[in-house]
């Protein structure tokens, strides 16, 4: 624990850096964190995927030095002929095994998720789909828990790492490998391993690894790589580089022990031509895989799952659901500002209302005027029509008058005056009508 912290020249967050004159003791914080974590225990969920027969269960049992999986003896499996359904499609199952392992008072709640049936059918086009769904459903479950009112107890079942087993063909990645990794690399930390590596010589392993990495880079697949940051000491950086250089790990697992030449018993496989030792770094990369997975980068895997993979998933999901990013929640709360803003908003609202009402009024007035004009015109035309009718009638009467009698005879006169009276009456009537009809 260092006594004095030295002042750094660059201030990153804008806060002033102060130099201390004595030992305060907050540098003990990581220890407190450490003790608390030990009390709480850790979760780790590991998924394995790959065709059957590549030694997945054996490797898991070797990694955790305990029978996480029951031994899959060739003698103990189901009856002959059961696996293949007609048409040769086996479904991909998801099975999970949990164990609580304790080492030096550190409690690890380990979950191993197996994916039997992957890649074993004739048509494996959608074989990765159930696996992706499982990973996403775990994200969903965590998201739901995060959104609860009472969040004191959150159970983290998210997959922290996926070991993908590659068949040791010696050529390059197969179509199913590329499809799988392309579809899952941004949902989970992908760790490709070359399975059953005891079938390849050292040179073949080297060439195969190079080709696998070339394929991975060519298709833009993101695999988990251990990175060092600036705070690590040089030893750690060197170790990380050594481990990263071996990716993808070429591994061999074994649940059996063999005897070495000097009599010691180690995990290994006994062949007529020799014995391969699982933990011998010259024989395969098992030790590096274990180192990275359990001893050095477990926290980084968990962190990457939480901070990067989960967050990306959450963002995409919420955006897809229609949530909109509202950045106003990030501003500080200032009452005066808020009151002013409210007033402004209110004023604006009032103005808008006023303008609206004015507009509505104007519109109504226009409408009414239009209607009145229209009816006036109508009346005019009617007046004209009626006048025309009357004129016609008068003309007819004049005609009749002329035919009936030329001069103004007393008999005729009353007719004429009668007619005229009629006309006058009609005119008066129509005038009345007009006057009445105006309104």
């Amino acid at each position: 624990m260092r006594g004095n912290t030295s002042m750094q020249t660059t201030g990153a967050s804008g806060a002033t850096k102060k130099k201390m004159n004595g030992y305060v003791g907050f540098s003990n914080y990581p220890n407190q964190e450490h003790r608390r974590s030990i009390k709480r225990g850790f979760n780790f969920t590991l998924m394995v995927a790959g065709e059957s027969g590549l030694g997945k269960s054996t490797l898991i049992n070797t990694l955790f030095e305990s029978k996480v999986y029951p031994a899959k003896d060739e003698n103990s499996h189901a009856a002959v002929g059961t696996p293949s359904a007609p048409g040769g499609t086996k479904t991909v199952e998801i099975t999970s095994v949990s164990a609580e392992i304790v080492e030096n008072n550190v409690k690890l709640r380990l979950s191993v998720v197996d994916t039997p049936g992957f890649g074993d059918s004739i048509n494996n086009e959608q074989a990765w789909q159930p696996i992706l769904e499982n990973i996403e459903s775990r994200f969903d479950a965590y998201l739901a828990q995060e959104n609860r009112v009472n969040r004191s107890k959150i159970v983290d079942n998210r997959v922290n790492a996926l070991l993908y087993f590659i068949k040791p063909t010696g050529h390059a990645l197969r179509a199913i490998d590329i499809e799988f990794m392309k579809n899952l690399h941004n949902k989970v930390n992908l760790i490709p391993v070359i399975a059953r590596a005891d079938t390849l010589t050292a040179r073949e392993v080297e060439q195969f690894k190079a080709r696998v990495l070339a394929d991975i880079n060519f298709h833009g697949i993101q695999i988990f790589r251990p990175v060092s940051d600036q705070f690590d000491d040089p030893d750690t950086i060197a170790d990380n580089k050594a481990i990263a250089g071996k990716i993808p790990f070429a591994v061999v697992g074994s649940e059996r022990f063999v005897e070495r030449a000097d009599g010691t018993r180690v995990r290994g496989r006994q062949y007529p031509w020799g014995v391969i030792e699982v933990e011998n770094e010259a024989h395969n990369d098992f030790v590096s895989l274990r180192q990275m997975l359990l001893r050095t980068h477990m926290e980084e895997l968990r962190d990457a799952t939480d901070v990067s993979l989960y967050e990306t998933y959450r963002t995409q999901k919420l955006l897809a659901l229609g949530h909109v990013q509202d950045n106003t929640v990030f501003r500080e709360f200032n009452p005066r500002q808020q009151a002013e803003e409210e007033e402004r908003v209110h004023g604006a609202k009032m103005q808008k209302l006023e303008a609206e009402m004015a507009a509505v009024f104007k519109q109504k007035v226009q409408e009414k005027e239009g209607k009145l004009r229209q009816s006036e015109e109508e009346l005019h035309t009617r007046h004209k029509d009626m006048k025309a009718v009357l004129e016609r009638q008068r003309a007819e009467l004049e005609d009749k008058k002329r035919r009936l009698g030329i001069s103004d005879t007393p008999h005729a006169m009353p007719v004429h005056t009668l007619a005229a009276q009629d006309v006058a009456q009609q005119q008066a009537q129509s005038k009345d009508k007009k006057k009445r009809g105006f309104f």
């Binding site: 027969g53 060739e74 040769g88 063909t169 390059a172 179509a175 079938t199 394929d215 880079n217 031509w273």
Partner: protein
């Protein structure tokens, strides 16, 4: 031909027929055609190159990242003439790159079955010609090496589908090529499992039991059947083991000698294929598979002709045949591309 010790007056001498046949054989040479069926990366090319101790074919596996994965199974035959002690063999190795390489491998066996049947059809065509060659060129597949995945719990669904179809048209020899990742116990258990599954699915692999077998043959065949599937290791590399130069593989924990019987069944496979059952393979192809094919083809032609005759008699259009028949080799013996079914 040396003077026989039986050269008495009662000695007839027809026992020299074998030597006469041998001489004829030496002059003529013979054809041997093998097809390799298995995923890429199973060790097919290496194995066949090891068996014939020469670099016959190159691996067709995808190596470069830019190379596109093959979308269908291709058929790529390579023919070479090998000579050993005056005996010439025209060897054709047919590789099947692209087999089972895709995510969706439905029907990936169709080009293979079609090729095998086409060879039978071609032979039939040549046989039916009115003026045919003295020795008909034989491109029929005499042996099919079927490569199984080591470590699987048994036959995979694809294996079952394809083996059922392959065993109907050719002699199938199941093989585990990269068996250096299996311990002896694992191999034994795997072989037992495979044999059980083959029996369950009624898949019959070579050698077939026959009435003509002598006691010796039966014993030999039984021992061969014990070994099936052959767990072999192939290698084109020559390495030094205990001062000797052998073909093998050098691992950090040991050196595999492919000729060592305790390491792999390679020697058994080679002897079986070439030293004891080679003529059997050729003969059984001709007598069993080819005859089956021929019978079914000619029967179909007869049916088709009967149908056409019936239709012509009733005056209607010829009815659609129930199965797509090959275009019949007419009396003139000219046959067009026969349609074969996978």
């Amino acid at each position: 031909m040396s003077a026989s010790p039986n050269d008495t007056q009662d000695y007839v001498g027809f026992d020299t027929i074998t030597q006469q046949m041998e001489r004829k054989f030496l002059k003529r040479g013979f054809n041997f055609n093998v097809i390799l069926v298995g995923e890429s990366g199973m060790g097919k090319s290496t194995l066949i190159n090891s068996i014939f101790a020469s670099h016959l074919i190159d691996t067709q596996g995808r190596r470069a990242a830019q190379e596109v994965i093959r979308k269908t199974t291709e058929i790529s035959p390579v023919t070479q003439t090998l000579e050993e002690n005056g005996v010439r063999v025209k060897l054709t190795i047919v590789d099947t790159p692209g087999y089972s390489d895709q995510c969706n491998n439905e029907g990936c066996w169709i080009p293979v079955i079609k090729y095998i049947k086409d060879q039978h059809a071609a032979y039939l065509e040549r046989e039916l010609k009115p003026l045919r060659d003295r020795v008909i060129v034989d491109t029929r597949i005499h042996a099919c090496l079927y490569f199984l995945n080591p470590g699987s719990r048994g036959l995979r669904p694809l294996d079952v589908e394809v083996l059922k179809r392959l065993t109907e048209v050719t002699n199938v020899i199941p093989i585990i090529a990269k068996s250096d990742s299996m311990t002896i116990e694992e191999r034994t258990a795997f072989k037992r499992r495979i044999k059980e599954e083959l029996a369950f699915h009624r898949i019959v692999v070579f050698p077939y039991p026959s009435d003509e077998d002598t006691e010796e043959d039966r014993v030999l065949n039984a021992s061969i059947r014990e070994l099936i599937p052959f767990a072999v290791v192939g290698s084109e590399e020559v390495i030094e083991v205990n001062g000797k130069l052998v073909r093998g593989r050098r691992h950090g924990w040991g050196v595999i000698n492919i000729f060592d019987e305790s390491h792999s069944d390679f020697v058994h496979l080679r002897n079986f294929m070439l030293r004891t059952h080679l003529s059997d393979l050729v003969e059984v192809t001709a007598q069993r598979h080819y005859e089956q094919f021929r019978t079914s083809q000619l029967r179909q032609i007869k049916e088709l002709r009967a149908q056409q005759a019936a239709a012509a008699a009733t005056g209607g259009a010829p009815p659609m045949p129930s199965q797509a028949p090959p275009q019949a080799p007419m009396a003139s013996g000219v046959m067009h591309q026969p349609m074969t079914q996978a």
